[in-house]
Symmetry: C2
Subunit: 250 residues, 2 copies
């Protein structure tokens, strides 16, 4: 994803500018551009919190500058009801569709966000290359400026969450075999076995167990087995000796 300029066109309230700087940085964006903004004072700084750098380095320029230097200019607009679908304001893309369209784009991309009371004017929309619309509820479609920026930045950033290991098919098959063996240990009747195992697969199958969770379930089964037949404790102690891999966390 190329670095993107977030352009606020004539923002009226400094609090919104501060909040915008903050939510941009939350999602990894740094280039704030301000066109004809309100005076920025203490409230902007307070709302920017730990994004003072974004606020301080915000660039003041004109809408002409933005159009002249950007390879793609994207106008954001509120949800358009069918009756007012004018060709100038369509086709529009959701933030997610926008991501698909710009993620491989080169050059400079600027996203325009309009005035709090009025949005972008027709001229600004007309000159833009693409329209982005955040889907909202009909009963109250007007987002706060910083919320609109937040939703767009969140979608465009597409940041990954840290990964955790999911149990592999092999891990799951070991677990099911262990459960089956455990059902033997508690004399679960043979004629019920198949249905019970299916039911257990249905339950665990929709949980997407992590490796750790699967390991913990093994541990609980083993501990139960030891209580049912103390001889198994010695067997397992020998098996586990030196491996230390499968222990029962907490």
């Amino acid at each position: 994803m190329p670095e993107i300029d977030i352009v606020l066109v004539s923002p009226l309230y400094e609090g919104n500018v501060g909040f915008t700087a903050r939510v941009m940085k939350n999602f990894g964006f740094h280039r704030l551009v301000l066109i004809d903004p309100c005076t920025l004072g203490e409230e902007a700084a307070a709302r920017a919190a730990h994004a003072q750098d974004v606020l301080r380095e915000a660039e003041l320029c004109t809408i002409e500058d933005v159009f002249a230097r950007s390879n793609i200019v994207i106008a954001t607009t509120g949800t358009v009801s069918k009756s007012v679908c004018h060709s100038m304001r369509m086709p529009f893309y959701s933030p997610r569709e926008l991501r698909e369209r710009v993620q491989d784009a080169g050059g400079r991309i600027s996203i325009l966000f309009g005035r709090e009371n009025w949005g972008l004017n027709n001229e600004e929309v007309r000159r833009s290359d693409m329209i982005c619309t955040i889907p909202t509820a009909d009963e109250y479609p007007i987002l706060n400026l910083s919320h609109a920026v937040g939703v767009v930045c969140c979608e465009l950033s597409n940041l990954p969450l840290p990964r955790y290991a999911l149990a592999s098919p092999t891990d799951m098959s070991y677990l099911y075999r262990h459960i089956d063996r455990y059902l033997d240990a508690i004399h679960h009747p043979a004629f019920k076995r198949e249905n019970t195992m299916i039911l257990i697969r249905r339950i665990l199958g929709r949980t997407n167990l992590t490796v750790r969770e699967a390991s913990t379930l093994h541990g609980l089964l083993r501990r139960s087995e030891w209580h049912i037949d103390p001889a198994l404790l010695d067997r397992d102690k020998n098996l586990l000796q030196g491996s230390g891999n499968e222990e029962e966390p907490e």
Copy 2:
């Protein structure tokens, strides 16, 4: 999608509560639950804007009430760095993954959002059924409360945008035939034709033309044809008589 309770646990700033009410309503959510909130006064009302109803009907209750009555309780947490991945705080789902997991769920679903300075405490996370984490940038992962609610609500609402008609494969094939005919009219050389048509397909093929846009391009081609050969104007007039369907929108 079932109706979902948005639960703010001990919010500290009334402005955030107001903003939360607003962004909830923007995305079609109405059930705000407040646990041990700060005093709500003018600032909350101002920030709620046209979501006074959500704010006024917010329910005051205890965390015990929430756990007792909810079929699924979802805790929201900040991005967890690998070093502190504790089993209590994982596996975690992004808002989008969460949507897939709860969209067909029945019963009552509550989503907990923690204190501005502290988040949810371990006990609140431990008792929850699922963990939702919004992916954020490492350099500043702390979202404003209302921005976090906004991103989660936007994703869970999955509201549709109004639809507009895209040009069908048949529409596109008419358009390409018209372009090909037009290239004849301007004596485009035969030996270049195939490559030029491929290039035009590549350009238009990535635009996802709307019906209206395709119609406008037809209109422009026709108008050019009339200027090249005035006899075509009379031909087209006869063809279009009574149909009036394909005119050239501005």
